[in-house]
């Protein structure tokens, strides 16, 4: 019986091996300097790259962080600092609801809120959607990490005459910072790979662009367009783009997990 259980582990790990293996076999050959720099070329031509999508992902995710992190971390500090209040309970409940909301629904929301009102697709509408996805994740980690900080540290700071805000910011938050950074990195890794919320907000684009009020390319959108398109050349590029995307995502989440693990071992 135990052998049967052990075999489930093997079956569970196989897909990861297969997926990473295929990505490397089919994608690595197409990676070149031009691939990282060039924008896409019209259908039918060979060559081209995903430079525009790499920049697009950086811009869209960067703006999402600017919007989502202050809100998420702020709400997380609030729920940890004033845990018994009704607002804190409501906040936790809402975060759980939003965490379980399908990302495509968030996309529809961002579309209705921004795109439909303005009448055009825009990169920042995509950023808003990704920010909404990040907020609950960041909030929950911030709260957890602050709760792990020993109470004696806060008391020591208060006993020295620090006002509460200084004690929280300079002592409690600083102690919890590595954990919060980890949670943030995981959230960034997750939203960087999201396609559904960007489909009808950032829309995607073939051209290099830094104008956030216009459609912008992103790596996951490129993978989707190329994978579902009819051309052999597109499929080749889809594999290479997916390889780039997964390297970005896995590096972010590996870094995040290794950072926490070291921290736990030190304590």
């Amino acid at each position: 019986m135990v052998m049967v259980l052990a075999s489930t582990v093997v079956i569970a790990v196989l897909p990861l091996v297969f997926i990473l293996g295929t990505l490397i076999v089919k994608g690595a050959g197409s990676l070149s300097a031009t691939f990282f720099v060039a924008s896409s070329v019209p259908a039918g031509q060979t060559g081209g790259g995903v430079g525009h999508a790499i920049v697009g992902t950086l811009v869209i995710v960067g703006m999402a962080c600017l919007m989502g992190l202050p809100l998420g971390i702020g709400a997380g500090i609030y729920t940890a600092e004033y845990p018994g209040t009704r607002l804190a309970t409501a906040c936790r409940f809402v975060a759980d609801v939003m965490n379980g909301t399908p990302s495509i629904v968030i996309g529809v929301f961002a579309w209705a809120w921004i795109v439909a009102r303005q009448g055009h697709f825009s990169a920042y509408a995509g950023s808003v959607a990704l920010a909404i996805l990040m907020i609950p994740m960041v909030m929950r980690t911030t709260e957890e990490m602050i709760k792990l900080v020993p109470h004696s540290l806060r008391e020591a700071a208060l006993a020295l005459g620090y006002p509460r805000w200084r004690a929280t910011l300079t002592v409690v938050l600083r102690t919890a910072l590595p954990g919060i950074v980890t949670g943030t990195l995981l959230a960034v890794a997750r939203v960087a790979g999201e396609t559904a919320p960007l489909l009808f907000t950032a829309l995607g684009s073939q051209y290099f662009s830094l104008d956030v009020s216009r459609p912008m390319a992103a790596l996951p959108l490129v993978v989707f367009t190329y994978a579902t398109g009819p051309y052999q050349e597109w499929h080749r590029l889809a594999w290479a783009t997916a390889l780039v995307l997964i390297i970005v995502v896995l590096v972010l989440s590996l870094a995040a997990r290794l950072a926490t693990r070291q921290r736990y071992q030190r304590n």
């Binding site: 629904v105 529809v108 006002p163």
Partner: protein, 325 residues
């Protein structure tokens, strides 16, 4: 005669008495952020209702039961989408639940200690792979294998069942369910692992002390103790499976029909939104898709609330599940 001296009011140290402006500003800013979340959710619900108002007014609740989806005639009914969503999620769970519970039990109870962390870590990495990459892999690797060898084999063995009859398509309900199973497995595994770890050691020790083998201890004590938490983990996985979009869109074949055969294409709510939203031209089409989004939102909220309640009952006070999900 004078009143006896009333006791002096307790004197706080100045630092606690002082209402610092810094504190007020700090609390004010935090409160703004904390209020922002419920406001955002309320706004989300409002926008979904506002967006689907036209479709709700026109089709009412019949939208859920009608099977016509005809943008040209402006007739919309979401039953095939709802059916496809539930069907693909149910099939995915049938595959994923035994596997992920097996892994979780093995990793918490039986595996060599050195193996536990790394194996759990690798499986959690599966959760980090973007949905669109699963879709890409599904289209070009999984579907050819399924279509050429697995599906014909299934048909020859189980062909007497209506689910395995008829022509074999590559993009189909079963292909989508298989990729979905691979995708929700890490979530179910991670949460049920945390639930099992939350079972007190005394429970195991009591069973072992009564002479049970390790396997018997797991079956008779650990799993029953964690039962509601495990069910919660499965329901959280269900929530994920219902809302999963990209990989399903790429693999399910996208046809507004209900077929008995699992080899035939289907459609899900999320996939329909993803495919049609940016191409919809009429207001009523957009509104119907927003209605679908609203229904999907309501279904997932209900399911997640139930799951949280169950998990909370086992791991009271701890936050099992919050970290991963």
């Amino acid at each position: 005669m004078t009143e006896p001296d009333s006791p002096a009011p307790p004197r706080h140290p100045p630092a606690l008495e002082r209402k610092s402006y810094g504190d007020r500003i700090f609390k004010g800013m935090l409160t703004v952020a904390a209020v922002g979340l419920p406001v955002l959710l309320g706004f989300l619900v409002f926008e979904l209702f506002a967006g689907s108002r036209e479709a709700i007014a026109r089709f009412g609740f019949g939208f859920v039961t009608s099977s016509t989806w005809d943008p040209v005639a402006e007739q919309f009914g979401a039953w095939p989408l709802i059916f496809g969503t539930l069907m693909s999620a149910a099939l995915a769970l049938m595959i994923a639940v035994p596997l992920s519970l097996g892994v979780a039990i093995y990793l918490t109870e039986f595996a060599p200690v050195r193996l536990r962390q790394p194996a759990a870590f690798v499986i959690e990495l599966l959760a980090a792979i973007p949905s669109v990459v699963y879709g890409l892999w599904g289209i070009f690797v999984l579907i050819p294998v399924l279509k050429d060898s697995v599906f014909p084999l299934l048909q020859s063995v189980l062909g007497f069942l209506p689910f395995f009859q008829g022509p074999i398509y590559g993009p189909s309900m079963l292909s989508a369910s298989i990729i979905l199973a691979i995708m929700v497995m890490p979530y179910i595994m991670a949460v049920s692992r945390e639930v099992l770890l939350a079972v007190p050691a005394s429970q195991r020790e009591a069973a072992l002390g009564l002479g049970a083998t390790r396997w018997e201890a797991v079956v008779t004590t650990v799993v029953p103790y964690a039962r509601s938490g495990l069910i919660g983990a499965v329901i959280l996985g269900l929530g994920r499976a219902l809302g999963e979009t990209m990989a399903v869109t790429m693999l399910i074949g996208n046809r507004h029909e209900i077929a008995a055969s699992l080899f035939a294409p289907g459609y899900t709510m999320a996939a329909a939104i993803a495919n049609e939203f940016s191409e919809a031209v009429t207001d009523i089409h957009l509104s119907s898709l927003a209605y679908v989004a609203l229904l999907l939102f309501l279904i997932t909220v209900l399911i997640n609330a139930g799951a949280r309640l169950l998990i909370w009952r086992v791991s009271r006070g701890t936050t099992a599940g919050s970290r991963v999900l």
